[in-house]
């Protein structure tokens, strides 16, 4: 290596040649070390970024490999069979898939309108000094761990529903032709409706905070113009703010849906874990995540385990699609705002 590398004018003008070369050599060493450190650090960060990619592909590969035995045995009928019998080792995913979709649908049906109204309140009606505290309180709902929702749902919410809302629904909607089957049967307390309601509370903060963010990103001139021609507050929100923020709202809703689909603990407590497809929303059912959480550690035999992993794969594929759409929508609105 060239010992004069990194030598500067100042070094050369110093007297005593020996000293110069020692200094220059140290300098070169230091510079080399720095350069090496630079390369190592850069490669390290790049490796970590690749690691994130590997993580996701690892998840997919592990799930596919784990579910192969079940998929090979049952084929596509795995998706359409309701039967779930560990004793005879016959498994079908229809009941969990149905339960997952129904509970998430109930959750979105309730959480989206409430979330939008809260966002409307926070951005248009609420006095300035109240905005932050209310916003933080709503976001605290998102911070509460899901197991807390579960234990609360099981001990407080389900008995409450069993005593009040469910008998009321059976007595009223249970006799309306067309939708009567949805509200038939005894009030168990636990069941799909309860799970859907709990999910609604959990999804609410997502729907709210993203809607609030996109609502407040609507240019003030648009709103002022609408107010200027005499619109009421509600008309401004409904016909100016909402259409402008539509893509972002849909993105936020999909993000919440992704969470509702994959939510495990809260649902496991209150769903009842019954592998059947029943028309009544009040009946116990199961979801993909609840089945896995309830049965995985007790699963005996490769086929049982593999069927549960196959359920996990289905869940992952569904949420992946939903989340990808959500991200795409949010990316579009970010590009427009930014």
């Amino acid at each position: 290596m060239d010992p004069t590398r990194g030598q500067s004018v100042a070094d050369v003008t110093l007297p005593a040649g020996a000293l110069i070369s020692v200094k220059a050599a140290t300098r070169a060493r230091v510079l080399d070390r720095l350069r090496l450190g630079d390369i190592v650090f850069c490669q390290l960060t790049r490796a970590a970024a690749f690691g994130v990619l590997l993580l996701l592909s690892g998840v997919i590969v592990a799930l596919v490999v784990g579910s192969l035995p079940a998929l090979r045995t049952f084929g596509l009928s795995f998706l359409t069979t309701e039967r779930w019998n560990p004793v005879t080792e016959k498994f079908g995913a229809l009941a969990p898939i149905y339960g997952t979709l129904v509970t998430s649908f109930i959750a979105m049906l309730i959480a989206v309108p409430i979330g939008l109204m809260i966002a409307f309140f926070l951005t248009e009606l609420c006095p300035q000094w109240l905005r932050r505290p209310i916003g933080i309180a709503i976001e605290l709902l998102a911070g509460i761990p899901s197991i807390i929702y579960g234990i609360w749902g099981l001990f407080i919410f389900a008995p409450f529903l069993q005593g009040t809302l469910q008998p009321f629904l059976i007595a009223t909607l249970g006799h309306v032709p067309g939708i009567a089957p949805l509200f038939s049967g005894p009030p168990y307390g636990i069941g799909m409706l309860t799970a859907g309601l709990i999910l609604a509370i959990m999804v609410l903060p997502f729907a709210t905070s993203i809607s609030r963010d996109v609502f407040s990103a609507v240019p003030a001139v648009l709103k002022e113009a609408a107010y200027g021609v005499g619109c009421t507050t509600w008309e401004v929100a409904r016909y100016v703010v909402l259409p402008y923020a539509r893509v972002g709202v849909i993105g936020g809703v999909m993000l919440g849906l992704g969470r509702a689909l994959g939510e495990t603990m809260a649902v496991t407590f209150v769903i009842g874990n019954a592998h059947r497809v029943s028309a009544s929303l009040l009946a116990p059912g199961t979801t993909i995540s609840a089945s896995i959480a309830n049965e995985f550690t007790e699963a005996v035999g490769d086929l049982y385990t593999s069927s549960l992993i196959a359920l996990g794969l289905i869940l992952f594929v569904i949420t992946f699609i939903v989340l990808a759409i959500a991200r795409y929508m949010l990316m579009r609105i970010e590009r427009r705002i930014g």
Binding site: A49, I151, R259, G262, A293
Partner: protein, 280 residues
């Protein structure tokens, strides 16, 4: 006042009332959950909860081993997840800000961020528990680390992107190599935000149950051996709450209260830290 005008007015009032009641519903629900948690949790809370082991049904006991287990799993997850997350975030914000790789990683990371945690549990079961042949604390810690990484990546990238370029240019102009610029200038400028990210990650994993169910499993007895099944607070709550025994259920409520308080304190700290970081 024309009828048309009156109806528009009425509609506005109805919508306003609906918005107000929606907000009250949201806040009321939060109060309801926290209230019943405090009510049920405090009645069972005593010193014994923090000093004794989980009891067999019908006996006195506490939650010492799951509390210690949870702390160990969380620390393990942070020890693995934080460096990886910070390094990946650094690449995305510093070296490859306009790379193809960065946008792909950002997309994948966002997916991981909201992927169902039970699927992560299945993944770790497949790659660690099944090959090792037994449940272990290591597997639980790694499963939680997988949840830590996306949170840390996201905040690190966001915070480093906010660091003004003038700082980097100044550092470069006095001859600082790039890696030192990042470590001594950018990290320091983004410190508050990055710590916030780590706190948020802790808040997220400290209540996670699903990925632990079949990785670290549970342990009725005192064990700090990471190579064996280890107790953790969320899993114990799950087991005790679904049991028919009254004392177990009340311990589950106490555990739920402890977790919620810890998570709320963490997220409030993180939030205030983030807002002070923005002001400076």
């Amino acid at each position: 006042m024309t009828p048309r005008y009156a109806s528009r007015r009425r509609r506005n009032i109805v919508a306003t009332a609906l918005a107000l009641s929606a907000t009250l519903i949201g806040l009321g629900w939060l109060a309801l959950i926290l209230g019943s948690l405090l009510w049920q949790g405090f009645s069972g809370l005593s010193l014994a909860v923090f000093t004794q082991m989980t009891p067999p049904p019908g006996a006195q006991g506490g939650l010492l081993n799951p509390i210690i287990g949870s702390l160990m799993l969380t620390l393990l997850a942070l020890a693995i997840g934080t460096p990886v997350g910070i390094l990946a975030g650094t690449y995305m914000a510093e070296y490859g800000r306009y790379d193809r790789l960065t946008s792909v990683v950002r997309f994948i990371n966002d997916i991981l961020l909201s992927a169902p945690s039970i699927v992560i549990g299945l993944f770790i079961y497949e790659v660690m528990v099944a090959p090792m042949g037994h449940f272990s604390g290591w597997a639980g810690g790694v499963a939680l680390a997988v949840l830590v990484i996306p949170v840390v990546v996201r905040t690190t990238e966001d915070m480093l992107t906010l660091v003004p370029n003038a700082l980097r240019e100044a550092a470069t102009s006095i001859g600082l190599p790039r890696s030192l610029t990042i470590r001594h200038i950018c990290y320091r400028a983004a410190q508050a935000g990055m710590i916030t990210g780590v706190l948020l990650a802790v808040a997220r994993i400290s209540g996670e149950t699903a990925p632990l169910l079949f990785t670290s499993l549970n342990n009725q007895f005192w064990s700090i051996n990471l190579n064996a099944p280890i107790a953790s607070l969320p899993v114990v709550i799950f087991q005790f709450a679904l049991s028919p025994y009254k004392d177990w259920q009340s311990l589950a409520w106490s555990g739920a209260l402890i977790i919620t308080m810890a998570v709320l304190i963490l997220s409030i700290t993180a939030r205030s830290l983030a807002s002070t970081g923005k002001q400076s």
